[in-house]
């Protein structure tokens, strides 16, 4: 695992809380994220691990500025991301912090050809980038896709793995400082997961990209991260290096998460 070059805190999340409310007369509320604090440094990969409904995705949406928090703040490079006033500032933020989601199919507009998603990246870049087609081909090659196999095709003609690789190819074009990857491989075949995880590691080694990696599978987080945050019911219940969390989990929930991972060398005793 590469060492982190600098230790300046790039993103700081303080006391983040999100409460969802529903109903008209009888208002019901659910606390999705409950006072979460953490920081991500340049070039660092931090994994948020927890079961469905633990608040991981809500946290990701707030960091990506897709959802306003009920309280708390997210500071990126010293600025509160909810204080951006102009479209230009917002575009600048999204150029630096890029999201990759669970279902790559949902990101494509089925009416257009799939490579449109790569050309759209140039809308975020203000300067002249030169030969766009050449850049797109290079990005596809970087994510181990053969350009002739994917260019000009529609998203339904691509496999799940190919679609998700195209989403990662956007990062090669944009070179963001941080990627927020929300379950990027949970809809990809088990045999293709390692290939996509490797792309994130390569991006990190090449450009020093920080990654917030969100997953329910501690096994994946183990390979990807410098640091793992275990989330349960909206709170971070444990934090540590992958080795420490896997070998010596403190919180009962972390222990349960580890016990629930199906291993290839060992059969569960309690099944």
């Amino acid at each position: 695992m590469p060492s982190r070059s600098r230790s300046a805190s790039m993103l700081k999340v303080s006391d983040l809380t999100e409460v969802y409310t529903a109903g008209f007369l009888q208002r019901e509320s659910a606390v999705a994220v409950d006072g979460v604090n953490f920081a991500v440094q340049e070039g660092e990969t931090v994994s948020l691990v927890g079961e469905s409904g633990s608040g991981k995705t809500t946290t990701a949406h707030i960091i990506l500025r897709l959802l306003p928090p009920t309280s708390g703040e997210v500071v990126f490079e010293g600025r509160d991301i909810w204080a951006f006033k102009t479209k230009k500032e917002l575009k600048g933020y999204w150029r630096k912090v890029h999201g990759i989601f669970q279902d790559p199919y949902a990101a494509f507009n089925p009416i257009y050809k799939a490579d449109r998603i790569l050309y759209q990246v140039f809308n975020l870049v203000d300067r002249d980038v030169g030969d766009k087609r050449k850049l797109v081909r290079e990005a596809l090659e970087a994510v181990k896709l053969r350009p002739e196999e994917v260019l000009g095709r529609y998203s339904h003609q691509l496999s799940g793995g190919q679609r998700q690789r195209m989403m990662v190819a956007r990062c090669y074009l944009l070179k963001p400082q941080m990627i927020v990857a929300d379950e990027p491989v949970s809809m990809v075949d088990a045999s293709g997961r390692a290939g996509i995880l490797k792309l994130f590691l390569e991006l990190r080694d090449l450009y020093g990209t920080a990654v917030i990696f969100i997953t329910h599978d501690l096994g994946l987080a183990y390979y990807m991260s410098h640091r793992i945050l275990v989330m349960h019911k909206g709170k971070i219940v444990e934090e540590g290096t992958p080795e420490k969390i896997l070998s010596d989990p403190q919180h009962p929930y972390s222990r349960k998460l580890i016990a629930d991972i199906p291993l290839i060398r060992r059969k569960w005793e309690d099944i």
Binding site: E51, S52, G53, K144, E149, S159, G160, G161, Q162, D189, A190, S191, G192, R193, A194, G195, L197, K198, L201, H216, D217, L218, G219, L220, Y222, Y223, P242, L246, K256, L257, I258, D260, I261, P262, L263, I264, R265, R266, K267, W268, I271
Partner: protein
């Protein structure tokens, strides 16, 4: 052959405007009573089509071309056709829980009402009898009885999946086929579903299970036998431990090694995956279908298709490179 269900040389293709898609191309599998057979492979290698073939759920564009699907070694389901198998065997003898079946519950009907409908149709039970049976089965399987009084949207994904499996096995079928039962679930819910499948087997509620998955680590936990599919064909079959400990086919080897689990052996090996995409089954490659992606491919591999050959102890493999092969 005295197995519970046996497919022999089955070919089932999809017809499309571009030609025939060879999704299941000469597949033979045996399921004996008590087996938990795991069928594994990447997406698009014919696993789900095979599950439909075993059920004889053949509807256009899928076409059954040749082969036999023998029930109890004598009754050929393929000769009976879909409609006959549907009325005589579905639910009671063979039952299929397809992928995303957790969406099979009717959104506007409570789970209990849905189950009453199922039992009224199959067993001609009245409401009270059906309710009692549903309650008994839920208790047996460790599902909360309150789930019967809820609408599907009030249940979590894992709970919905378990409810659907319990509905599918209400009539104690001889064979339960589950297609990717855990693919949309997180690890903890996944374990509950797998526990339930084990429980159904242990309590002999179902006679045998076929579980289709792309995640081999899951098969370690539940399977007794594994069949690996690639490009519409079975490339290796054998007892679960034998395959996971010593895979013979290069595809089996790569597939097992591509699984990312937090284990020292896996970490030492580093992340590995199978480069490239599975073959286009409209135009599958000549010879061995895996040869374009195989790291050990020889010239014979691109010319001749390797037959599935027995190695003893229920182990079969289709690869030119495996030494000591002998005809079965």
């Amino acid at each position: 052959m005295s197995g519970l269900l046996a497919a022999e040389g089955v070919k089932a293709y999809y017809s499309s405007s571009k030609g025939l898609v060879r999704a299941v191309d000469g597949v033979s599998v045996d399921i004996d009573p008590g087996d938990v057979l795991g069928i594994a492979g990447e997406s698009g290698c014919g696993k789900s089509t095979l599950s439909n073939v075993l059920m004889m759920n053949i509807r256009p564009p899928l076409r059954f071309l040749e082969g036999k699907v023998l029930l109890d070694g004598k009754q050929d389901l393929a000769a009976m056709g879909r409609e006959k198998v549907k009325t005589q065997a579905w639910g009671r003898v063979i039952t299929l829980v397809p992928q995303s079946a957790l969406n099979a519950l009717v959104p506007t009907r409570k789970v209990g009402a849905f189950i009453k409908d199922v039992l009224r149709y199959h067993l001609k039970l009245n409401g009270r009898e059906a309710w009692a049976l549903a309650q008994k089965r839920f208790q047996e399987l460790g599902l909360p009885v309150e789930a019967l009084t809820k609408y599907p949207h009030q249940l979590s994904g894992g709970m919905r999946q378990r409810v659907v499996i319990s509905v599918a096995t209400l009539l104690n079928p001889k064979l339960l086929i589950v297609d990717e039962p855990t693919s949309a679930l997180d690890v903890s819910t996944q374990k509950q579903v797998l526990k339930m499948l084990r429980h159904l087997r242990k309590e002999e509620i179902v006679g045998a299970v076929v579980s289709i998955t792309h995640d081999i680590a899951i098969l370690r936990q539940i399977a007794t036998k594994i069949a690996l599919m690639y490009g519409g064909k079975v490339v290796e079959v054998g007892p679960m431990e034998a395959i996971l400990e010593g895979p013979l086919h290069p595809y089996a080897h790569s597939l097992i090694h591509s699984v990312v689990t937090p284990e020292p052996e896996v970490k030492d090996r580093g992340l590995s995956y199978i480069a490239g995409e599975p073959p286009d089954l409209l135009h599958p490659p000549e010879g061995c279908r895996f040869h374009p992606r195989c790291p050990h491919s020889l010239s014979i591999c691109s010319r001749e298709e390797p037959p599935l050959i027995g190695l003893g102890e229920d182990r079969f493999v289709a690869c030119h490179l495996v030494p000591g092969r002998r005809p079965c």
